[in-house]
């Protein structure tokens, strides 16, 4: 077979592999809730932060905060959050489960839109956040190791989780 005719076969091979296709939405919000909280009822938690609170979150987390992308729910034994950050060029949507003690229980990537750099989905990478709470450094290259080739995605998800923990501490944590 000549190289050119091999080239022609590639699109057909692509279509053949296409069968078990799954979108780049890896988990829906409902699937993530079920995965993290089982059958627990989750009630939406209104997040109406005052401008002072938004400023406090930005100062505390050291990153910009545009309230609106962050959504929160309360369950019997913890909190469920969905947030989005820019990866390299596009949005990464992720979910975080916090225990009632405010410690991260689980991080899941719901949606990743870019062709490359999707290594933030790696379970071992996400597991680094388990047990982290507000006040921990949560900086890439300090207490969170990055993944070479996906540095920006790792950095931005780390920043997002640090910001989310600030929001929890400033506006949600029972006092």
């Amino acid at each position: 077979m000549t190289p050119s005719s091999r080239l022609l076969l590639l699109p057909f091979a692509a279509v053949a592999v296409c069968a078990p296709a799954h979108a780049m939405v890896y988990l829906s919000v409902e699937e993530a809730q079920k995965l993290m909280f089982g059958d627990q009822a989750l009630t939406p938690l209104p997040l109406s932060l005052s401008p002072q609170q938004v400023a406090a979150v930005e100062k505390d987390a050291g990153v910009k905060f545009f309230p609106g992308s962050l959504r929160a729910w309360k369950g019997a034994d913890g909190y469920f959050f969905v947030d989005a950050v820019i990866g390299k060029h596009d949005l990464i949507t992720y979910a975080v489960a916090l225990g009632q003690d405010g410690k991260v229980r689980q991080v899941e990537i719901l949606e990743y839109r870019e062709a490359y750099g999707g290594d933030v989905r790696n379970p071992r990478w996400r597991k680094q956040f388990t047990g982290k709470q507000h006040g921990d450094p949560l900086h890439l290259g300090e207490d969170i190791q990055g993944i070479s080739g996906a540095t920006l995605s790792c950095e931005h998800v780390t920043d997002g989780i640090r910001r989310l923990l600030s929001v929890y501490d400033i506006a949600i944590r029972p006092r």
Binding site: P3, S4, R6, L7, L10, P11, A13, A14, V17, C18, P20, A21, H22, A23, M24, V25, Y26, V29, T43, P44, L45, P46, G62, G68, S69, R71, V82, A84, K88, H89, D90, L91, R113, E114, A115, Y116, G118, D119, R121, N122, P123, R124, W125, Q128, H139, G141, E142, I144, Q145, G146, I147, S148, G149, A150, T151, L152, E155
Partner: protein
């Protein structure tokens, strides 16, 4: 407590209070009938008022519950609205724009007259999401600020491909895309590497920015193995310049910029590329442990050769490399080894015998690099680094017996010809204003071509 149970309890308590209050004035046994009647009436009135209060309380509670439900519904509606709203500003949520670029200042220590400043590259990218699984990415680059027939700059399409997700673990891409080799080629933005300019191994041995036209399949497994395999255009040895009048480079900057290296000089960048000869590549990376990356890649294919002299045999170019990077905490350690071969070069070289720039049959290089974040504050980050590298663009030549691959005399400019190999120490630091903007400084010491030793400054950005 059930509210219905509260009333008798409250009534008894009030009666007890009233009785004890009365007792302060008189002996309970001495209460007259009138007083008792009065007290009874008072108790009756109080209990009526209590009943009224109870009803009001019930109403308030119901109102409160209704309000809470309403609030929750509103919160849910807001969340749905947030989820449904396009989450990205700009022209369209499906369109992405990005860019990167770098400016150099380079000062050769032994010949300051050759100092140069250059807007080395300004690159802008446009991407578009056709749907959740199909994305288009492109990058357009202006090198050296001005591009025209009489200028040194170039305008290039650096990437132009469509990527389609087939499954969680696999995607297919087609078009002009970056080759998955080494640590730098696919991540060549200035914020991603240490030093003002890209390292020599990943410029002269693995060309950068190296892209080919074709198809590839790629994906990531859940245990952290990334894979990429495809069929692309290859090299064209017809592009080789055997007879430069002068050395193609006199400084380290020129060495990197003038496409003198074997694969730099012959890759086609999908510019009316020869497609009769195709090449294959495969790349594997392990990223399963956070902070660790280890991988290898192989590229091989026959090359296009010129028609003159007639009857030249097909020449096969093979390049393989292996790389590792480990970033434990503030440290960042990396290493790359790359080796390439070009087969059957003898006939082509002998047909051009005596020229100052024959085609090598072997080339290789490696580097070891260590960086450490010594300071980090408010988004600023300072990371000094040191790198040791060796490269040899002409490790072996199949040439006519008795001829030298590099002319031994002086070149037309009265200086010896530079050697295609060297050992280089680089010391420097990257200072990040934030993850997207970096200032760089380094000092490079060349052991063989010692005239190249230089001091550099750089500014890089990436968004």
């Amino acid at each position: 407590m059930n509210p219905a149970m509260k009333t008798p309890f409250v009534r008894t308590a009030i009666a007890a209070v009233l009785l004890s209050a009365g007792g302060a004035h008189a002996d309970p046994a001495g209460i007259d009938a009138a007083t008792a009647q009065k007290m009874e009436q008072q108790i009756e009135r109080l209990s009526q008022e209590l009943e009224e209060m109870k009803t009001q309380l019930k109403q308030l509670k119901a109102q409160n519950e209704a309000l809470a439900t309403q609030q929750q519904q509103q919160a849910a509606q807001v969340q749905q609205a947030v989820a449904a709203a396009p989450q990205q500003g700009g022209i369209s949520p499906d369109l992405s724009l990005w860019g990167y670029g770098e400016v150099y200042y380079t000062h050769p220590q032994h010949d300051p007259a050759l100092s140069q400043a250059d807007l080395a590259r300004a690159v802008f990218g446009i991407g578009y999401h056709f749907d959740d699984r199909t994305v288009f990415n492109s990058e357009f680059e202006v090198e050296h600020a001005v591009s025209s027939a009489s200028d040194k700059g170039e305008f290039e399409v650096e990437q132009f491909y469509v990527d389609h997700q087939l499954a969680d673990w696999a995607a297919v891409k087609g078009g002009l895309f970056l080759m998955p080799f080494g640590l730098l080629n696919e991540h060549h933005e200035p914020t991603n590497f240490y030093g003002v300019q890209r390292n020599f191994v990943e410029t002269l041995i693995i060309p950068s920015t190296w892209r080919e036209g074709g198809f590839g399949f790629h994906g990531d497994t859940s245990i952290g193995i990334g894979w990429d395999v495809g069929l692309t255009t290859g090299l064209n040895l017809g592009n080789w310049n055997f007879t430069p009048e002068n050395p193609l480079y006199r400084t380290a900057l020129e060495l990197e910029d003038t496409n003198v290296a074997p694969m730099q000089a012959t890759h086609q960048e999908l510019q009316l590329a020869d497609a009769q000869h195709l090449s294959q590549y495969v790349s594997l990376n392990y990223k399963g442990v956070p902070g660790l990356l280890a991988g290898a890649a192989l590229f091989t294919g026959n090359t296009a050769v010129p028609n003159t002299p007639p009857g030249l045999p097909d020449e096969r170019v093979t390049l393989w490399e292996t790389h590792a990077r480990w970033t434990p905490g503030a440290a960042d350690l990396s290493a790359v080894y790359a080796r390439g071969t070009i087969s059957d070069t003898a006939a082509y070289n002998i047909a051009n015998a005596g020229t100052p720039n024959p085609i090598p049959s072997k080339f290789w290089g490696y580097y070891l690099q260590g960086a450490y974040t010594v300071w980090r504050h408010n988004g600023y980050r300072l990371a000094p680094f040191v790198r040791w590298e060796r490269y040899d663009m002409g490790a072996s030549y199949d040439i006519a017996a008795g001829t030298a691959p590099v002319p031994t005399g002086l070149a037309a400019d009265g200086k010896p010809w530079p050697q295609p190999y060297d050992r280089v120490w680089t010391y420097g630091a990257n200072f990040y204003l934030n993850p997207h903007v970096v200032l760089k400084a380094d000092y490079q010491s060349f052991q063989t071509n010692s005239d190249f030793t230089r001091f550099d400054l750089g500014l890089g950005l990436n968004f």
